[in-house]
Structures are given as structure tokens and as C-alpha cells.
């Protein structure tokens, strides 16, 4: 018994590893990222401490004297620097001339110090000039410190008398990396645009799901159910085409149809209507096309599931009902639909989740426009985390948005299972008791 249990664990191990790596980990990482203010500017792997003029702006209001002192760049030709230059292994004349002519001088910027170095009799190469000037750098401006300890020891060598609290304040102001925060969620909760995007998402999922993925799919399945087998198969095959066409090409076809140089405009032009971009003309137009594009792709899956479920209904039930004089509508109402409960549950649940997360068709067709009218949650998360004209991608906020989507998805799944009474579906058949 014991060994078989162990064997079971071994057998399940590959699946368990896959589940953890590819299903659980992304969600966990999303949750972790969502609690940070991570952006391109903060980096992903972590930050450093950099006393840059820009980071000192905030420090200026609380500690003006220290901020001014820190921002001071200095290049001092002192003995320590000269010793260091001697150790570089360059031509000996360089250090000697520096000591003889320039010892004790202080230069406010690196460029000025380097100009002096370039004027030495034995003119060093650009690379050596950089190396020499670095030996005289007596400021911490723009130096990157990997840890707080390095930063504090540099502050100490500068001769700044700072209390531990002041040091911590400096460290906080000069840290370039990301920090833990819950701000993303308060931004999501307080932004009027986020509320609008959420509403868009609800509308998108509801419309596509009810009109196409379930409604139209059911209609197609019933139609083909009553057709002779060969035309039914051809019909179903045609309905599969949008699903198997590459999305980019499929959306291009719609654009070709709806653009102001497209088919509809040309056709309407024959009747004297000026061409217009039907796809993006108004929010209503955009929604119309977004729902159609996604609906025609999504309807095929429900159609296949429902068709095969209908095939499983015993033929005798249809024959018996016909003998009783039942109409087609009565057959649909009293035979087909009651037995379609579980397929409908499955398709509704599955398609809700995939619609919640899907955005590629909308990205390609309207990119959320016009005026963010068709911006749905997943697209907005993508735009936030991975698209920015100015190159500053907001990973943290994007992750928080993705996490909200995960929570909505899980909640909805549980709700569906409850409404459709999943318990009875998986209950043991009575015959086995």
C-alpha cells in the first residue's frame, strides 16, 4: 500500500512540476509584481543607490544643506589620487607632471579636469585620460552604489556628518530600484478610466458570449442537427474557417471591408455616400465590429461542442416525440435544451474566461479606439505593462491589472459552478452504490 502510494507520487510528479511551472508560477509572479512600483526606470532585477541631481530634488525640500553638499561635483588633485595614478602603470612622466604642476588644484567638473590632463606633455589616450580623472574624483555625484553600506561609507569618506536617520533618508531618496507598494491597487480603484475599462470589459464579454459564443453557436448546432449529414459537415467546416485563419489576416480582411478605402465605402460611394472609416467612425461602429470579429471566431467552438452533445441524445427520443406529434420547437424546448445543460455550462464558463483574457483581435482591429471606447481590461494591462511610446513600461501596474483579471476569472468560474450545480454533475451514479 505504502509503496503504491509512493509510486503514485512519482507518476504524478511530471504533471505536478508542469502545473507549478506553467500554471501556478505565472500567477504567483503576477501577484508579486503587482505589489511593486516596477517600471522600466526602476528595472526588474533591482536598483542601486545613485546620488544624481535628479534624485536630490525631493531631498532639497527636507535637507537643503545636505542635498547641496551631495550635489557638488569635485575633482581634487591630491596625494591619494596621485599615488593611485602612479599605480596605474602609465608613463611615469604623467604622475610626475601632475604632482609638480597641479597638486592641490580642484576642478568643479570632470570635463575641466580632463582638459587639464589632456594638456600634459605626455598626452595620454582618451581611455587613459578617463582612468586618470577617475582617481581624482572626490564626489559621489552620479556614482552608482550597489548597497546601502557602500553608499554610507562613501558619505563618511566625504566627511559629511549624518545621523543614521538622515543616512536612511538619503538612501531612500537616491534608490533607483522598485519598492513594495499597494499603490497600484489604489490607482486602479480611484481612476475614472479604469472604471470605464472595466465596464467595457463587462460589455464585451456579455455581448460576445450571449450573442455568439453560446447563442449563435447553439443556433448553428440546432440548424446543422436537422440537416442531412453531408451539408451539415460542410456547413460546420465553413464556420470553422475564422477560427483557423491566422488572426492578423482575419482582422486585415475586416479592415479591408470597413476602412474608408475599403469595400463598404466603395459600395456606398456608388450610392453617393462619402467614404468613411466604418470601423472607427464612432464608438458604436467600433463595438459592432469588435463583437462581430470576436463572435465569428468564437462561435465555432460552441457549435462543435453542442453538435456533438446533440448527437449523443438517443435518436429514440426524437422518434418518440415525432410519433406524439411534437413540432421542431417542442423538440428543441423539451428534448434538446434540457440535455444541453452541461455543454452550455462548459462553453459559457470556458468562453467567459477566454474572452476576459483575449485582446489580440481588438488590438489589431481598433487598438482600443476610438478614444479608448473599446479598450478592454486585458488590452489595457498589455498597453500599461508592455507598450509605451516613451519607453517607460509600467510592469507593476500592469501586473496589478492582470491580477484583478485573475481574481475576476476565478470568482466567475466558482459562480458558474454554483449556478449550474456542478456537484450533481460529478456525483457518483446511483447504480454504483
Amino acid at each position: 500500500m505504502k509503496s503504491s502510494r509512493k509510486l503514485g507520487l512519482v507518476m504524478i510528479a511530471p504533471a505536478a512540476i508542469m502545473i507549478i511551472l506553467f500554471f501556478l508560477l505565472p500567477v504567483v509572479l503576477t501577484a508579486v509584481f503587482s505589489m511593486t512600483n516596477m517600471t522600466t526606470a526602476t528595472g526588474i532585477s533591482g536598483g542601486v543607490y545613485q546620488i544624481a541631481p535628479n534624485s536630490l530634488i525631493t531631498l532639497k525640500s527636507t535637507m537643503p544643506d545636505i542635498a547641496a553638499e551631495l550635489a557638488e561635483p569635485r575633482y581634487a588633485i591630491d596625494e591619494a589620487g596621485l599615488k593611485a595614478v602612479e599605480g596605474l602603470g602609465l608613463a611615469p612622466g604623467i604622475a610626475a607632471e601632475l604632482r609638480a604642476k597641479h597638486a592641490g588644484e580642484v576642478f568643479p567638473t570632470r570635463r575641466e579636469a580632463e582638459r587639464m590632463i589632456k594638456d600634459l606633455a605626455e598626452r595620454p589616450s582618451t581611455r587613459d585620460v578617463k582612468q586618470i580623472s577617475e582617481q581624482f574624483n572626490r564626489s559621489v555625484v552620479n556614482t552608482r552604489f550597489d548597497s546601502k553600506e557602500e553608499l554610507f561609507s562613501a558619505l563618511d569618506t566625504l566627511g559629511l556628518k549624518l545621523t543614521p536617520e538622515q543616512k536612511e533618508t538619503v538612501a531612500q531618496a537616491t534608490y533607483t530600484g522598485w519598492t513594495w507598494t499597494t499603490d497600484n491597487f489604489s490607482r486602479i480603484a480611484s481612476s475614472p478610466d479604469m472604471a470605464r475599462v472595466l465596464l467595457n470589459t463587462a460589455l464585451y464579454v456579455a455581448l460576445v458570449l450571449t450573442l455568439f459564443n453560446v447563442g449563435y453557436a447553439l443556433l448553428l448546432a440546432i440548424w446543422t442537427h436537422y440537416m442531412p449529414p453531408t451539408p451539415a459537415s460542410i456547413f460546420r467546416g465553413i464556420w470553422l474557417l475564422p477560427r483557423i485563419t491566422p488572426v492578423v489576416i482575419y482582422v486585415m480582411l475586416w479592415k479591408w471591408l470597413a476602412w474608408d478605402t475599403g469595400f463598404i465605402s466603395v459600395l456606398m460611394g456608388k450610392f453617393g455616400y462619402p467614404p468613411k472609416n466604418y470601423l472607427l467612425d464612432t464608438a458604436y461602429h467600433a463595438w459592432f465590429f469588435v463583437v462581430l470579429i470576436n463572435g465569428f471566431i468564437g462561435a465555432s467552438m460552441g457549435m462543435l461542442v453542442f453538435s456533438s452533445a446533440m448527437k449523443a441524445i438517443p435518436k429514440s427520443q426524437f422518434y418518440a416525440s415525432e410519433v406524439d406529434g411534437a413540432s421542431r420547437w417542442q423538440q428543441i424546448r423539451y428534448i434538446i435544451l434540457p440535455q444541453m445543460r452541461w455543454p452550455i455550462l462548459f462553453v459559457t464558463c470556458y468562453q467567459t474566461l477566454s474572452l476576459l483574457a483575449s485582446f489580440n483581435e481588438i488590438l489589431l482591429a481598433t487598438n482600443g479606439g476610438p478614444g479608448n471606447a473599446t479598450e478592454v481590461w486585458a488590452l489595457s494591462a498589455y498597453h500599461t505593462a508592455l507598450r509605451n511610446y516613451a519607453g517607460n513600461l509600467e510592469y507593476g501596474l500592469g501586473a496589478a491589472m492582470a491580477l484583478v483579471l485573475v481574481v475576476i476569472g476565478v470568482t466567475l468560474s466558482l459562480l458558474y459552478l454554483r449556478v449550474f450545480n456542478y456537484g450533481t454533475l460529478v456525483a457518483k451514479p446511483l447504480i454504483e452504490d
Partner: protein, 448 residues
């Protein structure tokens, strides 16, 4: 007799050693260069590095070094994809050695440690870098450190279709004087909308084609904000000027209301826009100096100067005529061998020489980066580069290098698009932008 094989093997060993010491002087380097926003007219952004590599190899040969540089080039036509790819590659430590990107990336990328200061590797006091316009070098700097070497300059003018301007009553003399009267603030945004309306009323252009601006997000829209008196940054802090932003949003809402700009203009296919402005379907539009190259080379507008006149972006209420320069810069990425980065820096330096840079400027209709370049006959003989440099560059602003500017930009753009399409009223868009800026940037932005 046993000494012979020993000698033999010693000789072989010596030969191998000798050959490796000969190879020690040889160096094979592969330098990767990526460039964003790079179409067929902008290939010299990458090719200039290749030309520079040949020059550097020759220099090395004279010093007795056997240096072999292979340049691997990658051009991205768009910006979003490029920036996404570069950021993620840099985070994964697989970034190219040299990146050609907009100067506004310097702030976030340097803060994240993705790029290193170029001034650590080059001599800014030596030719050709000491000849680069000082303001361009400023734009390529952050925190007082020079991070990039300007690769080009440009500005973003307003274009007018000459025949239509004549048809609504402008004489040749009026048109010749137009750039100056825009510059003096006599011809304003208000006049622009009126002229666009006149063109439509006369049936010269279709409704919505009077004023035909850029169809997607881009630096152009900051010019309108400046035009209406807005400032982007002051003393290192970002600025959101509510009144100026309201006037900017209102301008586009008014243009839509007057029917001179399409409500659904944003997001229309780029190719269609190009074709339309090149064939006189649109009356007035804004764009970059580099549009000249595309209009003439790809879109078939042969007689540009007979058909198009260009000016600064006219002044709006509260502001002045302006244009924006958005130089691309050569940047050095972090995480490479110091020697390789040093070679990359030398290549950038050579590529910035006036003659080599002029190839890019003339082919792509961008502007030169140094005074010396405008003295190169090949450059100054080109009418477009000469006129655009003289007329626009002295009035050019730039966007700030601030690591939070991207967030500001997103919020500004989102609400501009919403008020443009009527999804929000202008007041609601400005107030939404304000509240989102407050919650996003806190005291890093001054709202006034």
C-alpha cells in the same frame, strides 16, 4: 637519437606558441546595433556604424593591430515594438552594444542601469564631437552627464498645400511671407482653423480633410501644448498647466466640431494618411522634417516646393510659435565587455563626422548635428535640409529627459484622444488627467 623527437615536439610547441602570440594582437569584435523608427530612408543610422568600422579597422592596422569588426544591424520600423524588445533584451542581459533611440529614453534607461554614459568613453573636446550643437548635446544629457551622441536632429513643421491656399485667396507674396508671419505670431491656430474651413467650404478638400494631423500618438502633440502656452518641465520637475492643456484639448475638439478634422482620425491606417497628404487630399497637416524624404521618395510627390509650404507650429492663445526637435541618439548599453564598449564608442564618434552624418541627413531629410555639417557642400546644396535648418531649428524645443515623463505622456495622450473623439468633454478630460497625474506622480509633477 632520442633527442630528435623531443626537439621536434619542442619546435612544434614553440611554433604553436608563436602563432598564438601573433593572434594575441588580432581581435575579432562583433558590434550589434539596433535602431528604432527606422524605415528605408533612415538606413544610415545603421550603415554609418559600418562605415565607421572600416575606418577604425584601418586606423588599427596602422598601429599594427589586427582588428576585425563585424557590425550586426537590426532596424525596427516602429517604436513600440522596438522599445519593448530593447527593454526586455537589456533586462535579460542580451542588449545590443549600440542603440539608436529617442533622447527621452535616456532618463528611464540610465536610471535602470541599462545604458552607460557615453562621456565615460569618448573625448567630447575632440573633433567631431566638439562641433555638435551644444543644445543637442544638452538634450542627450541627464543629471549633468552626457549619455548619448546625437545621431540626427529634426523639427516638426506645419505643412500647407499651396494650390489650396492660393484658391482661398493667398497670393504668392502672402505665401512667401507666411513662415515669417507664423514666427511673428501674426498667423495663429485660429487662422489655421479658419483657412481649413475655407478650403472645405470651397470644395477643395472633402469634409474632415481641412486640418489633417498626425494619426497616432507622438511628440507632435506636445508642440500644440507648447503652442497654447504649456510647459513640460521646469527646474527638474514636470509641469501640468491646466489652462494650456484645456486650450490644447479644446483646439482639437473645436477642429472636430467645425468638421475640419475627422472625429475618427486617430488610429486610421498610416499608409492611407501618407498617400492622402502626398496627393493633395488634405489642406493643412503637421509632421516631421523627415516627412519630406517619404513624400518625395515613396509617395510620389515630385514637385514638393511647388505644392507645399512649411512653417513653425503657429501660436495659440497664451503661447508662441514653436517646433520640437526630437533627436535620436546613439546610446551605449551596459553589461558588455569594457573593450567592446570602447570600440562601440569609437564607432559612434567616427559615425558622427560631418560627411558621414550628412549621408543620413540628406537621405532621410533629417537635420544635421553640427555647424561643420552645414558647411559640407553635399548637405548645404540640398534645398530641403538648408531651408528647414534655417527656418525651424533656431526655434526648436525638446521634450524633457525625466524618468517619469512617459507616465505623464500616457495620461496626457489618453485624455486628448478621449476629448478628441467626444468620449469625454474637454473639462472632464483635463480633470481626469489631473486626478490621475496626482495619484500617479504625486509631488513629482507641478499642477497649476
Amino acid at each position: 637519437m632520442t633527442i630528435l623527437p623531443t626537439l621536434k615536439s619542442l619546435a612544434v610547441a614553440a611554433a604553436i606558441l608563436a602563432s598564438t602570440s601573433a593572434f594575441a594582437l588580432a581581435k575579432d569584435v562583433t558590434i550589434n546595433v539596433w535602431a528604432g523608427g527606422t524605415g528605408p530612408n533612415d538606413v544610415y543610422r545603421l550603415d554609418a556604424i559600418e562605415i565607421a568600422a572600416q575606418q577604425l579597422q584601418r586606423q588599427a592596422a596602422l598601429k599594427g593591430e589586427d582588428l576585425k569588426i563585424t557590425v550586426e544591424k537590426k532596424a525596427y520600423s516602429g517604436w513600440d515594438d522596438f522599445k519593448q524588445a530593447l527593454t526586455l533584451a537589456a533586462e535579460a542581459k542580451t542588449a545590443p552594444n549600440i542603440v539608436v533611440s529617442g533622447h527621452e529614453d535616456i532618463a528611464p534607461w540610465s536610471q535602470a542601469g541599462l545604458i552607460v554614459p557615453v562621456e565615460d568613453y569618448v573625448d567630447l573636446d575632440a573633433w567631431p564631437l566638439n562641433g555638435i550643437y551644444e543644445n543637442l548635446l544638452q538634450i542627450a544629457s541627464y543629471n549633468g552627464t552626457v549619455y548619448g551622441i546625437p545621431q540626427d536632429a529634426e523639427s516638426r513643421p506645419m505643412f500647407f498645400w499651396k494650390p489650396y491656399m492660393k484658391a482661398i485667396g493667398y497670393s504668392d507674396a502672402d505665401l512667401d511671407a507666411l513662415p515669417q508671419s507664423v514666427q511673428d505670431g501674426k498667423y495663429t491656430m485660429k487662422n489655421l482653423l479658419e483657412d481649413a474651413k475655407k478650403m472645405q467650404e470651397k470644395g477643395l478638400v472633402q469634409p474632415g480633410y481641412g486640418f489633417y494631423p498626425r494619426t497616432s500618438n507622438g511628440p507632435d502633440y506636445w508642440q500644440f501644448y507648447t503652442s497654447f502656452g504649456g510647459a513640460m518641465e521646469e527646474n527638474g520637475k514636470l509641469v501640468f498647466d491646466k489652462a494650456a492643456m484645456t486650450r490644447t484639448y479644446q483646439f482639437f475638439a473645436d477642429a472636430v466640431k467645425a468638421g475640419v478634422t475627422k472625429k475618427n482620425h486617430i488610429g486610421m491606417p498610416g499608409d492611407q494618411w501618407w498617400k492622402e497628404v502626398a496627393t493633395g487630399k488634405a489642406g493643412i497637416w503637421d509632421g516631421g522634417t523627415w516627412h519630406y524624404a517619404r513624400l518625395v521618395n515613396q509617395e510620389g510627390l515630385k514637385d514638393f516646393f511647388a505644392n507645399v509650404i512649411f512653417t513653425l507650429i503657429p501660436a495659440g492663445e497664451g503661447g508662441k510659435a514653436n517646433t520640437l526637435t526630437h533627436p535620436l541618439v546613439y546610446l551605449l548599453t551596459a553589461g558588455h565587455d569594457k573593450e567592446d564598449t570602447d570600440i562601440a564608442a569609437q564607432l559612434i564618434t567616427i559615425a558622427s563626422e560631418p560627411r558621414i552624418n550628412a549621408l543620413h541627413a540628406v537621405k532621410s531629410a533629417h537635420l544635421g548635428i553640427s555647424e561643420a555639417e552645414s558647411e559640407v557642400d553635399f548637405y548645404s546644396a540640398d534645398r530641403w535640409t538648408r531651408e528647414a535648418t534655417e527656418r525651424l531649428l533656431p526655434h526648436a524645443n525638446a521634450m524633457p529627459n525625466n524618468s517619469d515623463f512617459g507616465k505623464y505622456w500616457n495620461i496626457m495622450w489618453k485624455n486628448l484622444e478621449a476629448s478628441w473623439t467626444g468620449a469625454k468633454s474637454v473639462d472632464a478630460a483635463v480633470s481626469d488627467a489631473e486626478s490621475e497625474l496626482k495619484s500617479t506622480l504625486g509631488d513629482k509633477i507641478v499642477i497649476r
